[in-house]
Symmetry: C3
Subunit: 455 residues, 3 copies
């Protein structure tokens, strides 16, 4: 060790001291951030919409103040039979009402009418501990999962970076983490209804996750649509009980409330090695469901088909990503990362503006304020790729075919646009032109500006 090295070693206390200050300061900062009017990490940067009272009731629900007093179950029922007969009917038809010791309104909502609360999974878990435990266990597997759906949304900076009037729509589904009645509708809460695919429709549909659409278009869905109205839904989700599977039959086999531990491809948003040892275990678990009805060989062949579809899709996606990376190298995004307004709450993006490409660079959380070709890739990736995936996973062949045709068209469009960007750059350089500042396009009315003012 030379003399200068020794000299330097003496200064080791500087970074150590810095860490000693920074770590608790970081903890304190996170804690402080969560103490605002909103909820989550950005709680100081937004105030709740009224409807959040029902979606994150522990944080925001305030009981109606117009009625005073303490009421026991029968009294609630008697009054609400006249005020809100619909839900009283539902309750009367529920197992809660027909139990030997009925579970009354007050058991879940409390009995002080000025301090009523909206039941969260924790409240339901007081009786339904197994299901609640399985549900909470999803957290081990990270996101996407039902149990983390709300928390991860509220902690994401694009939650505060988008106008609340819009993210409110997102959070309606993400509130599943705080509401058992997303699947078991109020106030019947029947297991029977959650066994049906309709229980999943409200959230698992639409461009980025056409789960229900692809199920209904499959042979499984065809049988359900034709005959489901006559099935006995009180039966548990076990082999031999149903003629065709529903969402829950496969994903929540035997009533399992942990849904995050079996997916192999997750949402299809990144490439996955389907043959890791963990995934081999998962494949086996899937086959155990399929072989309730199918020859195991057929099920295995179908899984291989999915593997191959995914591989082919990622060949197309990576080809598009490569094109984008090359454009980024050549500095041809227009506007480039540095000349578009940063997300107000994304410090890293402000300090080190950089176009993010693909899943691992976090493009999914940066699809606004990007140049057209980046947005093209986002749509290819999020909509057409996920449509192909869901089609392949759920047996909707027509969707696979149509989505791959779209992926091809997307890749061609991205390459054509890349060619145009390069050609334009070449011409401008040849003519000594400096491209005009695209200010009218980027600096007015964008999310970032809007939210600075309105959120």
């Amino acid at each position: 060790m030379g003399a200068t090295a020794v000299k330097r070693a003496r200064y080791i206390w500087i970074p150590l001291l810095a860490l000693l200050i920074a770590i608790p300061a970081g903890f304190y900062y996170v804690h402080w951030s969560q103490q605002g009017e909103g909820a989550g990490f950005y709680s100081r940067l937004w105030s709740p919409e009224a409807i959040f009272a029902y979606w994150a009731p522990d944080d925001f629900y305030d009981s109606v103040q117009s009625v005073e007093g303490r009421f026991e179950g029968p009294a609630c029922v008697s009054c609400h039979s006249a005020i809100t007969p619909g839900i009283v009917n539902d309750w009367r038809a529920s197992r809660h009402a027909r139990a030997e010791t009925p579970v009354y309104c007050s058991d879940c909502h409390g009995d002080d009418h000025r301090r009523l609360h909206m039941p969260t999974p924790r409240v339901c878990g007081e009786c339904h501990a197994t299901q609640h435990g399985q549900f909470l266990d999803e957290r081990r597997f990270g996101f996407p999962s039902h149990a983390l759906a709300l928390e991860r949304a509220l902690d994401a900076n694009h939650f505060v970076d988008k106008p609340k009037a819009e993210v409110t729509a997102c959070l309606q589904c993400h509130s599943v983490a705080a509401k058992c009645d997303s699947c078991h509708t109020r106030h019947r809460f029947a297991a029977a209804e959650a066994r049906r695919p309709e229980a999943c429709i409200t959230c698992h549909s639409g461009p980025p996750h056409p789960d229900v659409e692809s199920y209904f278009a499959s042979a499984h869905g065809q049988i359900y649509l034709a005959e489901g109205a006559e099935w006995d839904w009180s039966k548990p989700l076990r082999e031999g009980n149903y003629r065709a599977p529903t969402c829950a039959y496969c994903h929540m086999h035997q009533g399992q409330h942990q849904v995050a531990d079996k997916p192999i491809w997750k949402f299809g948003i990144k490439q996955v090695n389907p043959l890791t040892s963990a995934n081999r275990v998962r494949r086996k678990r899937w086959l155990e469901v399929c072989d309730d009805c199918h020859d195991e060989a057929l099920a295995r062949d179908a899984l291989v088909g999915l593997d191959r579809e995914r591989k082919r899709a990622w060949e197309k996606l990576y080809a598009a990503e490569a094109e984008l990376r090359s454009l980024r190298e050549e500095n041809l995004f227009h506007p480039a990362a540095g000349s578009r307004p940063p997300y107000p709450n994304d410090w890293l993006d402000r300090l080190w503006p950089r176009a993010r490409i693909g899943f691992f660079e976090g493009q999914a959380s940066a699809f606004y304020n990007v140049s057209p070709i980046e947005r093209d890739y986002f749509e290819m990736w999020y909509f057409d790729n996920l449509s192909a995936y869901k089609g392949a996973a759920h047996g909707d062949a027509e969707r696979v075919q149509a989505a791959h045709a779209r992926l091809d068209a997307d890749l061609k469009a991205i390459r054509a646009r890349a060619d145009r960007l390069r050609e334009q750059a070449r011409r401008e350089q040849a003519a000594g032109i400096v491209a005009p500042d695209p200010s009218s396009l980027w600096l007015n009315g964008e999310y970032t500006e809007f939210n600075r003012e309105h959120n």
Copy 2:
């Protein structure tokens, strides 16, 4: 008053006389216009398609001439049991057939087989006066309304400005004004079936009005889809009778046949102040439906969510309109209003060609023969905006999210196109280029040309 003013006053008789001639002449002209082979204001400019016999039967239906004679009900039934058994079965299952004094075919169609008529609401109203009266009462609220659907379509110049082969598709739905069997299907006419959402599907679906799509994707629709097959649809649409609402439950509460008096936002095609005194009354009427099942606070919060969604959508739409108005100022529409063929039946447009932007200038009736950027706005406004609206109104969160993402993309695309138009104009001006006449694009095969020859 100076001497010249007095002199001028002597000529007041000139405009007065002109009015005295013009007003009756106008009335006469309107009357004369309605006397043609078609129907409505443009009746002299089109001849009916064969199928109009069934959609506007008072104007066009001619009885089959192959059978002669007068027949009373039982005779009709006896013969048609063999000829068209399907509708006889339907009638037999109807209340008409099972009434003490049955309502026979001849009671609605007449008994002279060479002078049969298709029953219009007026015929049904002879017995069902309350419903018919409520239906007619819609006319007070203007269009959109069922009662004015056919009349306003036939009086619109884009009816004659489009090839009949296409507007016939439009009029299939608009014939609701002349046919109770649009909702109560022939010949059962059950109230029970019109209570179900399917009664509304045929018309209230598709890009500009995804009512049924958004309903089915909502939690309400989810419950209906899962359980509706088992409900007792003979019950009236009153609180406590249905577990989840259907189209009719909310929009025709308690069987009300006046549907035009309660909408606040109408079809979402213009911005509305949701808090006018009239709209406050309407909000109260909506809440009275919601609170059949829901805490009133939740319903109120959901309405506020709709208000905010609408406000946000209009911020985007107005930003796009402003871009278009600015381009119109700069004379950059290509082709511009003056150099595209006018709608043949739009006098004003021929005399004073002017690009129309947005609802109040009448863009909705001028979406053909426009330049690409105007069409872009039309699609943003008519499809993506209305999709967002229906999603927000019917509780289809996924649709709201997806439609607002589209609105953002639309606004960006419009701004990008506007930038390109300006850049091109700048370059052409710099180079002294005059843009070529876009004749190949605009003057061949367009609606206007086509219809001059074919309608």
Copy 3:
């Protein structure tokens, strides 16, 4: 006849001899081509995906080898009740199980467990000869037809020209030719379920053939959706038995299994004269179905409406084709037919590269590796045109209106792109520029390259 002519006639043996060799050589070549690892004409160029075992079982299915022995029906049932209870339940509920002499597993699959086979229509036809005969009779009418669906796909060069991971999705539906259980699901095989529209959903849906979508959106579909769950599906498809028609009611009236002999417009992909003598006979057959419920005049008027809609659609399509033909004349496709990689298995295209426009030149089988404007036309033709057609044929008015609006927009977009191509050519010619080789766009990662390596 002059002297030289006589002299030439002596050489007639040359082409005659050539033919004498070429014809048997051709036959031999076709035969040889079919002897590969795959199936069909290109059998030497691809190897089967695992799942083909179930889709073309005569060619590819190998029985499970893990179980040895010969088993009679009751033994199969006893063991499979535990292994795959779902399908045993289905069989128990089938007529096969409840027949006086039950039709057991072994009757269709064989009894040697190491030589089981998957039943093809031929196997089913041993008992159900009438239906099988009608099904085979479809072959007389060529493609599209169920009976030729698989064969024509495997014999098409775009089957081997596309990556198998994608065409596998196509072949899932095309396997209908080899699997009665595409419509009568395993192992119940009820006629009742194939009478319902759901039996057709899996295949007859999606952009190029929205049959089910358009049916469900029609008044017919509306009645089915509302009431179908209560109908008695055991009744044959005869007049008076069903309140509203389903796919099978009209297309397989009275249980007819020959579906290819009645269509007038086939799939809407080419213009058809609907009034040829053969089509007049077909029209009569359609009217005979409609008049089970409708006044014949109404049905006739509806058919005329379809004729007019088709005529109008083809006016738009021909206008687009004319634009493309003119661009081809001017050599403005970019890249042009000669400078894009030929389909590896398309000899003609390699020898005589030529852009194909429209149905009769075979554009449908050449929609990859084409220039953007050709793809635009393909989409106009295949998606928007077919959507308009299905809407008009099935009574989905909203779809007709929306699809024709799309056709208009498509035509405008094609003309605008054509204008841009011409303008660009003009400018490049004026400036003496030679357009750069679009190699990055066309030569990497395309189907043709990909398949050379991977299929």
